[in-house]
Structure formats: C-alpha cells, structure tokens
Symmetry: C2
Subunit: 437 residues, 2 copies
Amino acid sequence: MVAGALPLGTAESKPAISDFTLENGMRAVVIEDHRAPVVTHMVWYRVGSADEPPGKTGIAHYLEHLMFKGTDKIAPGQFSRIIAENGGQDNAFTSRDYTAYFQRIAKDRLGLVMSMEADRMRNVNIRQEDIVAERDVVLEERNSRTDNDPAGRFREQYMAALYLNHAYGIPVIGWREEIESLDRDDALEMYERFYAPNNAILIVAGDVTPDEVRALAEEHYGVIEPVDLPESVRATEPPHLAARRLTMRDPRVAQERLWRGYIAPSYVTDGDSAAALGLLSDILSGGTTRRLPKMLTLETDLALYAGAYFSGMARDMGEFAFYAAPKGETTLTELEGALDWMIADLLENGITEEELARAKKAAIASEIYAQDSQGSLARQYGAALTIGLELDDVIGWRDRLEAVTVEDVMEAARLVLVPERSVTGYLMKAKTEGADG
Amino acid sequence: MVAGALPLGTAESKPAISDFTLENGMRAVVIEDHRAPVVTHMVWYRVGSADEPPGKTGIAHYLEHLMFKGTDKIAPGQFSRIIAENGGQDNAFTSRDYTAYFQRIAKDRLGLVMSMEADRMRNVNIRQEDIVAERDVVLEERNSRTDNDPAGRFREQYMAALYLNHAYGIPVIGWREEIESLDRDDALEMYERFYAPNNAILIVAGDVTPDEVRALAEEHYGVIEPVDLPESVRATEPPHLAARRLTMRDPRVAQERLWRGYIAPSYVTDGDSAAALGLLSDILSGGTTRRLPKMLTLETDLALYAGAYFSGMARDMGEFAFYAAPKGETTLTELEGALDWMIADLLENGITEEELARAKKAAIASEIYAQDSQGSLARQYGAALTIGLELDDVIGWRDRLEAVTVEDVMEAARLVLVPERSVTGYLMKAKTEGADG
C-alpha cells in the first residue's frame, strides 16, 4: 500500500514521507531529500538484546558483527570494502529493541546496496574461523567500553538493579561470561528466526522518489520469502515495591557520581505520558530553565554538573533519571539530599506555564534541527516503526507536544517519581576501609 | 546398572541405599527401610522455575498443578482420590531446580502408584476448562502466600535484587502479571520438553528390596521412550561490583526486619566451600554457639531475634544470609551497624576449634535425625541427584563435614562476605512522610 506523501509540519524543511509494504510483509518508508545526490539506506530488524534467550546475552550484537562476514556472493570481509570502493560508508548498530544496518552512498548506487543488503538478509555465510575471531573483537569492545571503565561497569550494575525481571536490565553487548560461550549455532538460530523481510523495515532517505525506491525494493527485497515469525515473548516487569540503592567503589574512579532512576512509560506504552516526561526532563535539565543544574551548580555550589534525562523510545518501557557529580568536599549523601529536596519541591509546587512553553519551544527547535540531517531523520523513522509506533506518531509528534499541559506534566511526574520505584546509585572512589555495607 | 547396597555411616540407622538406571535413561534410587510396611515413591524431574522461558515465570509450578488433572486413563481430578482410596497420601512440589511428585502408601500398592505416575509422565490430559480454573487456584495461592503478606513481597524484591541475571532471582510461583497469561500451550511445551524418563529420577524408600523396585520400575517406567533433551541453557551471574540495598515500606508491616544476603557457592559448584558455609551458618546462628542471636538479643538487646542461614542445595549457586528484627526503639540502621560489627569481627578474629567442633556435632546429629524419617531421606537423595550431585556425595557427606578445618571456614567466609556482593534489605512500617529515598 502506498500512502500519499505526507509533508511534515515545519516550514524550514518539508521532507515528503511516504510508505508502502511489500507482498512479503516488508515495510518501507521513503524520505525525500533532494538537497544532494546521495541516499541513506537502512534495514531495521525487529530484534535486539531484549529478545535474547537466557544464557545468550550479547548474541544480537554479536550477530550484527557477523553480518559483515560475507555471503555466498560476497567474499569474507568484502562487504564494507565494496561500499567504500563505491564511495559510500556503512555501519550497523544493535539496541535493546532493534538491529539496524545502513549505508550512505551516491544515489545511483542504491540498487547495489539493496542487492547486497537483501543478499545478507537470508544468505549470510558464517565461517567457523570468523566465529572465534569476531568473538574476540566483541570481547575487546566490551573491555574498552565497559570493563576498563568504572563508570561503564557502574552503569551496568545500575541497569541490572533498575529492572527486576525485564531484559532491558541486561547490557546490549552482553555479560562477558556469556559472550565467551556464544557460538555459530547461537548466531544462526537468532538469524534464521528474526532476519526476514516480514520482520524488517526499510528506510530510504535522500535524492529518490517513492516510485524509484519501490521498484528497487520489489526487485531486491520483494523476492525474499517471508518466514513464520514466532510469537515474541518478553519478560514483564513486576511491581517495584522497594526503593533500591547500590554503591560501587573503584580505585580508578576519578569523579564520584550520583545516579537516580525510575522505570517510566515509553512512547509506545503511553505516548502522552512520555511526551510529558520528555518535556519535564527538559525543564529540569535543558533549555533555558535548567532547574536541576542551576540549583546544584549555581545556587548551592554542590555539584560540578547535574542533569536529568528521559529515555522513552522503547517498545516496553522507558526510564527517567537524574545524575550529578559532587564538587569539592560535597558528599554523595549531601548531593542526594539536595536532589530529593528538588524532587519534593517539584511535586509540591509544580511547574509554570512559562517553563512548559519554553521546553516545548526547545523540543520543537531540536526536532526541526534533527530534520535537517538526512541520517537522523532516517534513524528517527526507523527506530519509531521498529519499536511499534506508526508514521502518524512521528508526523504528529509536534501536535502531541503542543497539547501537553502543566497538569499532564505533573501527573506524569507523580506517576514516575515514586520513592519505592527508585534506584539510587553511588559511584565512589575506593577507600581502603569502607564504612558502607 | 545395579550398584551394591551401600550402608550409611551411622550406627543408629543403616538404610541400605542402592541405585540403577533403566535402559531409557531413568535413574532410580532405592532406600530400604523395613520398619513399617509402607513405601514413599517419588519421581523428580530435572526442571524447575530456573528453566522457564522469558515471560513465562510460574509455568513450572503451574504445570505441577495441572499434572493432577488426569490422563486418558485417569478421569479429571481422580488422581489423588485413587491414592486416598488406597489409603495413601500424595502431593508435589516445585523448586528452582526440580519438580517432584510423591506418594506415601502401603507397600503392596507400589505397582499401582508407579503405573499412575508413569501414565502421567507422558499422557497427561490438560483440558481447556482446567487451564483457567487452575490458574485461578495458583493466583489465589500467590495472593495468600505473597501478595497479601508484606514479608513475602519483600522477600521477592530482595531475591530480584540479589541476582543480576540468573533466574534464581525470580519467584518460583511466578510474577503475577505473567501467571495471568500462562496458557495450555505454555504448559504443554514445558511438559513435552522436560517430562521424560531420561530427565527423571525415581526414589523409592520403604519396605521393599531393590529387586522388587527394579522389576516394577522396568514394567511401568521402562516402557516409556526417552526424548531428545534440549541443551539446558541458563543465565549466568555476572560479577557483583556494587553493594545493593532495598527499602520497602508497607502499612501492614507489624515487625520491621533487616536482611543481608550474598551469593555463595552451592554444594554442586563447590562442595567444600558449601560444607564450610553450612557449618559457619550454624556457628553464627544455631547449635550452642549462636554468635549472632547471642550478640544481638542477649548482649546488646538490640534485636527480638536474629540468625543466619546458608542455602546451598542448588544447581548453580547458593545464598548466605543474615536476618534480624529490631527490638523496641532500635532502628534498622543501628541493627545493621551491629551486624556489620559482628561480620568484621568474624573476618578479623575468626572462629575457634571448639566452635567448629560443636557445629559439626550438631550438623551430624541433625543428619542422623533426618535419616530417621523415610520421607526426608527420600527427599534428600532426590534433591541431591536432581541438582547434579551423586550418591557418593550424599553418602560421603559426613566425611566431608568432618574434614572441614577452621581455615576452610574462614576462607569461605572471606570469599562470600564481601561488601560489594551484598544485598541489604530493610522492611519497614510505612510512614506518611518517608525520609528515605
């Protein structure tokens, strides 16, 4: 089905967005952008680390690495070289809800990259020798990003404490002990189960027309048979009844840190609350209001930096969090006290119409800015559709933001900022004698 | 293979233990006990809540309930009635590592119960009407045992915090949200996958000979075809790097409570350390030494009760924990301070030879006492073999205990009682205004 081209509601850039679905169930979105003769081509699979079976954490990301190893047609290691030889760039990323592959290349090479991406959708060739070598690459990636970085390890322990049951608490790269035993069968099982046109979303942004994209997509992707997708069952999250805390001490910690997080609705589970929480994080942390950094750095001089964020682009649930780094002799306990005071003040006295108006303005400005980038527009649509949103959710985003009221924000804040649902983390310099249990 | 009868090493009761394995892979243990003309018949399956797929917590226990619903031969609800009409009792239990079914009945009815148990091993008949009714029974069980009991809910939140990745952190009965959606397919999938002779252990204790048991077992169980058992993959547990805490407040809390736990080796993963930890828990909590209750209730008058336990009969890992209830005006923080002091004192000053000797004596006495009960002996062997121990581990238990030295205990204590691996829980009366985040 070809939907009509839907103009976005901003005057500055009006990319025409259209979509269609191939006979085999593969969804496609075309974002026209005729400023330069290039295209961004992305294929998103609805599978991420939250879909991994027990004991196999890291397999989604590891499979992403192995997808570059070649097919019957592409020799081992040649995939990215061919893209580069054609003047393009390519890469991939794995998240909790999706795995995506993309290339940015001259418009006349779109057929080439589609043929290559379609080929590896079902015909990847994973050799035993690549299995071990690439696993070492992943382990080294884990070493440098997490294991050698106290803040990275702290973040992992914090996420594991934040979720009682759901796989969002597991690091996308996987737990080291489990990465070490991942093998070819594990990779192929996930590949065969989830890599299929009816579990994929094609995003093409750039100097193309919907008709051109459709013709190429039918030629390359349309010929792939759909698979029987298994029911996708994920763990749920039971009620959070007990406030949790964690304290990690490490001699390599250069800067101590306070972290406070709460599970929250996502744009998928409750779009209105998520919109309100996004604006709340901006009021507390960004834009011109910046309540939290102002209070903790300027007024009280307790923190080097402080902020809040809302992470809501997720299929099952979002996260609202605060963070701060103590300044000078300030202790994490003092910093936490000030944070608690600010949260109590927020819940008691609310926000003002003016703060909300400013946050909306900032959110809409950054939305307009993002639309200026072909790559970020493509990512926005790819991520939204893969987690279960619709085109209209993205297109109508601005309207949804505009509709948020002060009372909506406060209702969402009261829903989420509940002590018994909180996790508070202290990352501390190791002492030889710790007082803390 | 029939092993020779192996006498246990105690003079008071010498049950002869023998074992054999049927052609189809079903293991059997016979515990002779000729004091009364009765038998205890148990079938243990190597599947428990730790083997449940994501999103399906509670399915192992729910399946246990459904196993009483009948087969093609036994009409719905008649299983237990037939046992009762023959003067017997029957029941079942589900744990993290196993699900077991048992009957206690006159010796001449052993063939009858075997025929019934063998029948439901592969031919259970789960009707759609039972699915909903029995799910309500399970939900009501969860209501009364957990949801209506703050201590039960606290225990669940504590266990979820204790494990970062492994399914031992999930309640055996399942999370309510997931129990509610369990269906017939979920039950049958687990049943067909795990309920098979080559995944089962038969324990018969009582007034029988090994030859009698073997003949009956071959007749009833020997005719069942083995199944292809899938590789049993469980989540591992990543390193614990951050001390964790949780605070739960509930207006229904009559008695506040302190909890402190650590992941520990199990009898399967490290039998020597587990033996030492079992003795340590006895030194701290039981027997005549009772360090912890003496200090917290008698010497300091801080606690109403206090204790320690070690739970090590598990396939993947054990747990060492302390608990205490504050007395009068004592706060949980004060109580925790005293507990920390005791742990520091233990690690610094160790235990004495005399304390260890007393703990061994108590452990051996309770072992002898347990051997007096046909049911508890049968359970002991069933649990041990199902989690992966061997007959010799049970039979040689006393020797292993005797061999533990003071240094072994201290080494195990230093291995386990590490602050960054701890979880500390506060169960508190709800206040209208909480100071704690």
